[in-house]
């Protein structure tokens, strides 16, 4: 059982160069249960990354706390895998070595490492690219490797920060299906950040809508679409209805940002 609890977590970035301090995140509560797939949806600059980085332990909250299975998060660790929006594969390691990075850090033997890495390489459809350098991969392939790298560590929860944000539409749709297929089969606890409404609905069992600056949770919507989901679901009336509802929520937020800008 995995339970992630975010309790009254807020983050204010201190003032710099005479600018006022930035309140990136208002006190926020969030609970994610075992094998949940939660998507966080919000306009850019609303504090999504800030929240995710605090959960990952890469940033400290100004107030409040994050616990994973009752233990307070005080820093980054292998129990919370992270996939970043930017390409963060280690350029000096091959695809296989990248995926095995966490295993090697834990002292897993090379034979065992390669076995696990190769299984994930198959799962994300990169067979034949085991010995390629990241430079030789397309953006989509790099992100698939990054997902495999996080999964190979068998984290309790997988954190993804707009991992497909820089990809073209076709690639992004394929990546969404791949990620969902992995989740449907392996049942992982996932927290996925995005600003793409369709992506949030298609992937999530629950969509959390965040409001614009200062960021806070504005609405929470359950997505009761059946699994396994394929891209075809995006044109069903249920999907379209959910989408319309979320468009409305996001639009009011985006308008607020525009007014204050």
């Amino acid at each position: 059982m995995t339970i992630l609890k975010v309790e009254q977590v807020s983050r204010t970035f201190p003032a710099r160069h005479g600018n006022a301090p930035t309140r990136a995140l208002e006190p926020t509560d969030l609970t994610i249960g075992n094998n949940d797939f939660v998507t966080i949806l919000g306009p850019s600059g609303c504090g999504k990354s800030t929240l995710l980085r605090i959960v990952a332990g890469l940033d400290r909250p100004t107030s409040g706390r994050v616990t994973l299975d009752g233990r307070e998060v005080t820093g980054p660790g292998a129990d919370r895998g992270m996939v970043f929006q930017s390409y963060t594969l280690f350029p000096w390691l091959t695809v296989r070595e990248n995926i095995a990075f966490g295993l090697r850090e834990r002292g897993v033997s090379e034979a065992e490492r390669n076995k696990i890495a190769d299984a994930f390489i198959r799962q994300v459809g990169l067979s034949g690219f085991e010995n390629h350098w990241p430079k030789q991969l397309s953006g989509g392939m790099q992100q698939r490797t990054a997902i495999a790298r996080a999964l190979a560590n068998d984290p309790k929860i997988l954190l993804l920060d707009e991992p497909f944000g820089a990809l073209d539409n076709q690639t992004r749709a394929l990546m969404q299906e791949m990620l969902l297929a992995i989740w449907e089969r392996d049942q992982k606890t996932v927290l996925f950040v995005t600003h793409d409404i369709e992506e949030a609905i298609f992937l999530g069992s629950r969509v959390i809508v965040m409001s614009a600056r200062p960021g806070r949770i504005k609405a929470e919507i359950n997505v009761d679409l059946p699994h396994p989901r394929s891209y075809k679901i995006k044109t069903t009336p249920e999907f379209v209805q959910l989408k319309e509802r979320l468009v409305e929520e996001i639009r009011t937020e985006a308008l607020k940002v525009a007014e204050h800008a």
Binding site: G57, T88, F90, P91, W92, L93, F101, E105
Partner: protein
């Protein structure tokens, strides 16, 4: 010719060779044409004859060997100390804060100015020569390595942390490999500078080496030998640079992929 237009590798070679043709032509014109006195500048032919004489009759190969050994010895000594220290400075800000002011200051101390002092301390033996190279290189390498390591992509470090890397793991498996190509480039650059220090060290109080030969030739007004010595230094520098480059490319295939 248009700005930033590339040239083919054949053209590049041709242009490179053309320079030397023009250079030797001008040199020949000045010397054979009698525009410059023999006392000040030997002509190309004399230079080659003196060179052959140096190598076959005066044991110049031994001098070359001595010089190479001094450069490499002093340089390796400097690298062994400087690379780990630079890595520590780049990785740990308190270490950097502690050492940076001194290293930045020491970097501007001219190695050649230490020669008289080093002769007092270490005599005129090999140790003194190595120390000149060492002093000339070590601070440069420390500082440049520290800057390179400090500039490691933060997102890679963060990714490694979320994969469970320890602080040791961050240094050994992220900071070091990500900076390694830059460090190799730094070493290549500083090796080039070490060549200039060694010659200066050999000009003063030395009984062997290319620099020693050059001082001897000066006393005899043998400009042919001097020029030959200088050209040999240039050629060895070029060769070592080329080998270093090839070695780096072989060592870091992921950069070229």
């Amino acid at each position: 010719m248009r700005p930033l237009d590339p040239v083919t590798s054949k053209q590049r070679l041709a242009y490179g060779l053309a320079f030397f043709v023009v250079f030797v032509a001008l040199w020949s014109w000045a010397t054979f044409g009698g525009h410059v006195s023999k006392v000040f500048l030997a002509n190309p032919l004399t230079m080659v004859q003196e060179g052959v004489d140096l190598i076959t009759k005066q044991g110049f190969l031994y001098d070359i060997g001595m010089t190479i050994w001094r450069v490499v010895g002093g340089f390796v000594l400097a690298a062994i100390i400087a690379v780990p220290l630079g890595l520590l400075m780049g990785a740990y800000k308190p270490v950097e804060a502690f050492l940076e002011p001194f290293v930045s200051f020491a970097r501007y101390l001219p190695a050649s100015a230490f020669i008289p002092l080093l002769i007092l301390w270490a005599g005129i033996g090999e140790l003194q020569k190595l120390l000149v190279i060492f002093i000339g290189s070590v601070f440069q390498v420390i500082l440049m390595v520290a800057v390179t390591v400090g500039a490691t992509r933060r997102d890679l470090v963060e990714a490694a942390y979320t994969l469970g890397a320890s602080d040791r793991g961050i240094i050994r498996r992220v900071l070091l490999p990500s900076s390694a190509p830059e460090i190799a480039e730094i070493l290549r650059l500083v090796l080039g500078w070490a060549w200039t220090y060694v010659i200066v060290a050999e000009l003063i109080g030395s009984s062997s080496g290319i620099g020693h030969m050059i001082t001897d030739s000066q006393a005899l007004l043998n400009t042919g030998q001097i020029i030959f010595g200088i050209i040999v230094i240039g050629l060895i520098g070029l060769l070592s640079d080329f080998m270093f480059k090839a070695f780096n490319a072989w060592l870091f295939p992921w950069r070229l992929a």
